[in-house]
């Protein structure tokens, strides 16, 4: 750290509301010149929103943002950029109709209407920057023709071109190989050593631990811990948020399931590509009829991609089989009708319809008597829904919405229920209720469950088997007990 704080980002009391949801609450942080501050938190914690607020892409409802001592909160983003801030977005966003060189040149241009002739100096500088990040070979190509890592390099090149004193970097390593990640780390360190203040956002403390000087942890819009990477990883609140509390398991052995030869759901060597990024690579898992399987992994690991592939919402390579028969080629709706129902991360409720109407829609494939009986059973499982059955789904609390989402999926009488991060953004008290409901479900019905979670304490007590998904690959498989012993501590 330099003694004189030449470049400085200071945030105080930053707050942002989206309708009734408080995305960021009284956020405070400061980054000095020549320092990298890591901002970590699970999905939905508000860290990306903090970045957007600082950069002026969203306007804060309250709070102050100072760049080099100047108050810029509420300014439009182009003014904040010209004050010396730059951002590397999480998802590459090059201009698709322009070449790599033109994309970098753009970042070097001043905000003037009168630049009618191309400046050869700009061209030379653009080439120099391209050489620094390793893009010299592809300067005349268009982004569509480039591999994923090169697109990320363009983003860094644009940031270098802007020469910002405060640099915001949003989840830079998602989708990169180990070698590419190392190269990126080097670039970011170089930028830091130039004397800039760098704010780095990520969900994974482990991957940024080597890179950052300090860490600040967020959860549900608020800061919960700050210190060195080690200090934060050992912090009680942080561990509880990421791992939950102590872990008890109640697994049934795999041999107890009758369909060992042909498991109910078999996923074989499945791969998914999002544009250039490899979202899933060679993933193979299976779920037996009546089994409860947890897929544990942090954000960006690929859980949602996996579930969407199973539900038929994405193209994939490899095979997905239900009771031996391939699901390839079936529409998403027919896969759902046939007993594999997903409760997605976003819940996807019909917000203007009442709780009852949402449930009725879930049961519209059933004869009316059966549908009514099913609703009765669900009201027992989730009593709060009976209370609120006439209320519009959009007016329910987060936890109630999650319960409604699960109940609605259960109305379809699925053989396999897929739950994608049901605990996202929910307070610990609600997690208890959800956990109880899941427990009852497991005991009273023969349903198979595939649960994707980063909250290990929630996922483990109900699971019969656990997979760990990291950076698009399955890296661990085994019983919950073994997981608690082996992988749990190194997980954060």
């Amino acid at each position: 750290m330099s003694t004189a704080p030449a470049a400085h980002l200071e945030v105080k009391g930053l707050t942002k509301r989206f309708g009734g949801l408080v995305a960021v609450k009284e956020m405070a942080l400061s980054v000095h010149a020549g320092e990298i501050l890591g901002l970590i938190g699970p999905n939905g914690s508000g860290k990306s929103t903090v970045m957007k607020l600082i950069m002026g892409i969203e306007r804060p409802d309250a709070g102050s943002v100072r760049i080099n001592g100047f108050e810029v909160a509420g300014w439009p983003s182009h003014k904040i950029a010209r004050m010396g801030a730059g951002i590397v977005f999480q998802h590459s966003r090059p201009l698709h109709r322009q070449t790599v060189l033109e994309n970098i040149r753009l970042a070097l241009l001043p905000d003037k209407l009168t630049r009618l002739l191309a400046d050869p100096q700009t061209d030379a500088r653009a080439r120099a920057i391209a050489a620094r990040v390793g893009l010299s070979a592809v300067l005349d190509r268009r982004p569509a023709a480039l591999p994923f890592a090169d697109l990320r390099k363009i983003e860094i090149a644009k940031a270098i071109a802007r020469d910002p004193q405060v640099l915001l970097v949003d989840e830079p390593f998602a989708g990169l190989t180990v070698k590419e990640t190392a190269a990126f780390c080097e670039l970011i360190c170089e930028l830091r050593d130039d004397g800039r203040a760098v704010l780095l956002v990520d969900h994974n403390v482990k991957s940024v631990a080597r890179l950052v000087d300090r860490v600040l942890a967020m959860y549900v819009g608020e800061r919960i811990a700050e210190g060195t990477a080690d200090e934060v990883m050992r912090n009680e609140t942080v561990r509880r948020v990421y791992l939950g509390g102590s872990i008890e398991t109640a697994a049934r052995p795999e041999s107890s399931f009758s369909d060992s030869a042909t498991p109910f759901l078999a996923i074989e060597n499945v791969g998914v590509q999002y544009g250039k990024a490899q979202a899933l690579a060679d993933v193979s898992i299976h779920v037996h009829a009546g089994e409860f399987v947890s897929v544990v992994g942090l954000n960006g690991a690929g859980k949602t991609t996996l579930f969407n592939a199973i539900s038929g919402l994405l193209p994939y390579s490899g095979e997905i089989r239900r009771e031996g028969a391939s699901l390839r080629g079936r529409t998403a709706a027919s896969i759902a009708r046939n007993g594999i129902v997903q409760c997605p991360e976003g819940r996807e409720l019909f917000i203007d319809m009442s709780v009852r109407e949402n449930l009725d829609l879930g049961g519209q494939h059933l004869p009316p008597a059966e549908s009514a009986a099913q609703i009765g059973w669900l009201f027992e499982l989730f009593p709060i829904l009976r209370e609120r059955q006439k209320q519009a789904a959009g007016t329910l609390s987060g936890g109630e919405q999650q319960m409604l989402s699960i109940a609605r999926a259960l109305m379809m009488k699925p053989k396999l229920l897929i739950l994608d991060e049901p605990t996202l953004g929910l307070a610990p008290v609600i997690l208890e209720q959800l956990s109880k409901a899941l427990g009852r479900l497991r005991q009273t019905s023969a349903i198979s469950v595939l649960l994707g979670e980063q909250n290990v304490t929630f996922a483990l007590p109900h699971a019969d088997r656990v997979y760990v998904l990291e950076h698009a690959r399955i890296v661990w498989e085994g019983t919950p007990a073994r997981f608690a012993a082996e992988a749990g501590t190194g997980y954060l």
Partner: protein
């Protein structure tokens, strides 16, 4: 005093007609996400079919109306399958650009229909033989029974629509799709089927609105543009995506027009509504009850 009742009744009739057309337009946008710029053309096609049935085939007014509605229905489905669905599934167009392409294509499609109608039937104004004739006295005003009939049928149709959407399975799926298409798929309902249902419903709405318009005021191939423009304007005024907003806005526009026609001059009837639209876009671009 008579003028007051005249304005009230005339305004009500024309507003109801606007409401029916605008409801269809809003429905298609809310569920399918498409601003159908061939809206006016579909309505005129329905009218002209009803007229031709009466004129060339010499069928009675009821049969003529039925034919008109059927043509509206078929034309709507043709619009979906030939134009909208082709573009929605096209791999040659970037996602962000699809909206503009669909706008341009429906505009072109509307012009095609308009020109075809002008070619086959000439661009003279046509009126359809009304189902109800004669005059009734309301509050001392001699009103064509047809006008009352128009308003009643409009509201019956809107009521029927409400019943279908809120009480039938297919209708509820449509309503759900307008809120969350992904949610509908996850519940095992094929979105492609929902879209066909929506465009079919839209076709009936457009057919009925068109035939009623033909009986009430008459149309020509020149009416295509203004009909689309007024439906578009009403839906924006009410708030894109809000069917109830469109209903309210239809009455605001209808009465503004009627008031202007009676109190100032029929030549200026479209102006106050336009000015209102401009004002709303400046002050509250979301419209009265807009969500999106």
């Amino acid at each position: 005093m008579t003028v007051f009742w005249q304005i009230l009744i005339d305004g009500f009739a024309i507003s109801s007609l606007y409401a029916l057309g605008a409801t269809g337009f809003a429905l298609i946008f809310g569920v399918s996400g498409v601003l159908n710029l061939s809206h006016g053309a579909l309505m005129v096609a329905a009218v002209v079919a009803a007229w031709a049935a009466g004129n060339d085939l010499h069928v009675g007014p009821y049969a003529g109306a039925a034919i008109g509605v059927a043509v509206g229905f078929l034309a709507s489905l043709a619009t979906y399958f030939a134009v909208v669905r082709t573009l929605q599934r096209s791999r040659k167009i970037r996602e962000e650009e699809k909206e503009i392409f669909i706008l341009t294509a429906t505009l072109l499609w509307g012009i095609m229909i308009q020109e075809l109608i002008a070619y086959i039937f000439t661009n003279n104004a046509k009126t359809v033989a009304p189902i109800v004739n004669g005059v009734v006295m309301i509050a001392g005003v001699r009103t064509p029974a047809n006008e009352i009939f128009t308003a009643i049928v409009c509201w019956l149709t809107i009521g029927l629509l409400w019943l279908v959407v809120n009480r039938t399975r297919a209708g509820k799926a449509v309503l759900a799709a307008s809120m969350n298409p992904r949610g509908v798929t996850l519940l095992g309902i094929e979105l492609s089927q929902v879209y066909v249902v929506v465009w079919a419903i839209y076709g009936v709405l457009v057919g009925v609105a068109g035939v009623l318009l033909g009986m009430f005021l008459g149309v020509s191939s020149y009416s295509v543009g203004p009909l689309t423009a007024s439906a578009f304007a009403i839906v924006v005024l009410g708030g894109l995506g809000s069917v109830s907003g469109a209903l309210i806005a239809a009455y605001v526009v209808g009465y503004l027009e009627t008031l202007t026609a009676y109190l100032i001059s029929p030549a200026y009837r479209t102006i106050p509504a336009l000015l209102l639209l401009v004002a709303v876009m400046y002050v509250r671009p979301r419209g009265l009850l807009g969500r999106r």
